[in-house]
């Protein structure tokens, strides 16, 4: 019998990844931690401030408001995109030329760069020259996303739904395609209704991909920056200023690097906590 071999040289193969993570995540993160305890006016001159920036950010109305808007936005798009994505995936053809056509159409929005999506929707929705803006105003609706907070929110949400629902569709469709035909045949023999087939076969088999879809969409939407920034610039007023937009304003607009670093770390902890809670809940449900 051959002796069990252990080749520890394989560890060297992960060294490039470790180096990459160190340079693009670990070292910047350490620097942010260092900045969050200090004040700087430039020229690499720093003054230790202790926990002052954390207390300032945690007690700031501005931070609370941005966090509230961020949570509201993320919750809204998840509530729309996940069921809509599943519904579209269920409606897509299972064979024939239609499959390729639908897949290409679904993939198209995902291929458009984020700033282009923002610019496209900005022009599309402008009340004076945009097709959508003019059409809605022509119908008698007082629509102006540059002035009216409700219009700005609706436009931002519709833009995100347009851009990202297809990701949920593609994931859900992949989950549906992996269900063996025998399941449907057995359900047909048992006289199962369409709802029963959806609830007990399709949805339960899609759980894993939907977990990934919810996690991806949660993390992406919670960290969204480019699209709303290009579309509304965080306005009108601060009504679409989400956490990331506020963070950039503090760090680069006001050059308050200490408070911005403290806010980044609080933001990071919130994303980490919510992602972990989502993941743990979904994994626990899957085991049952």
């Amino acid at each position: 019998m051959a002796a069990k071999t252990a080749n520890h040289k394989a560890w060297w193969l992960v060294a490039p990844v470790v180096a990459l993570v160190a340079f693009n995540a670990l070292i910047p993160m350490m620097t942010v931690v260092n900045y969050s305890f200090q004040e700087t006016f430039g020229d690499n001159v720093f003054f230790f401030e202790g926990f002052k920036w954390y207390e300032q950010v945690l007690g700031s109305e501005r931070f609370h408001a941005a966090l509230g808007r961020q949570l509201a936005f993320t919750f809204t798009i998840l509530v729309i995109e996940i069921p809509l994505g599943v519904a579209v995936a269920l409606a897509m053809p299972r064979k024939g030329i239609g499959v390729s056509v639908c897949l290409v159409l679904m993939a198209l929005p995902l291929l458009i760069p984020w700033n282009v999506v923002g610019a496209m929707w900005n022009i599309f929705a402008l009340p004076d020259i945009g097709l959508l803006g003019r059409a809605l105003n022509g119908l008698g609706l007082a629509y102006d996303f540059t002035q009216d907070p409700t219009s700005a929110w609706i436009t931002t949400i519709v833009m995100d739904v347009w851009h990202w629902t297809s990701l949920v569709v593609l994931l859900a469709y992949a989950g549906l395609r992996s269900i063996p035909e025998a399941y449907y045949q057995a359900a047909k023999i048992d006289g199962a209704s369409a709802w029963a087939i959806f609830r007990h076969i399709q949805l339960s088999k899609m759980k894993r991909v939907l977990t990934i879809a919810v996690l991806l969409r949660f993390m992406d939407s919670f960290m969204i920056y480019t699209e709303p920034f290009v579309l509304t610039g965080g306005g009108p007023g601060n009504t679409t200023t989400f956490l990331s937009i506020d963070l950039v304003k503090i760090a680069l607009g006001q050059f308050d690097l200490g408070p911005a670093a403290a806010m980044s770390l609080i933001y990071f902890l919130i994303v980490l906590l919510l992602s972990w809670v989502f993941y743990s809940l979904m994994m626990r449900n899957e085991e049952r």
Partner: protein
Amino acid sequence: MSLSWMAWTWQTATFFILLAMVLAGMGLWEWKRPGGNPRRGIFGLDTTRGDRLFITLLGSGFIALGWLSFIGSPPYGALVICALWAIFVFRRV
């Protein structure tokens, strides 16, 4: 090589050194006494030692933020709560 752009202080350096020591200690612990399969704790989650360390650190971060929000610095009291939280997580979660 100058690291002045990273704005190191002895306080933050100590924090990272302690964190690295905790990770190394966990590795050493696993090497000496392998933890075996995940176990199910009071939250109904299957957790390994590494998971419990993650939960401890994440929870400690929020305990510190909560302390700074409601009581303010210095957060020595938060440190005590974090230590109790760590004991709770490693024994029960």
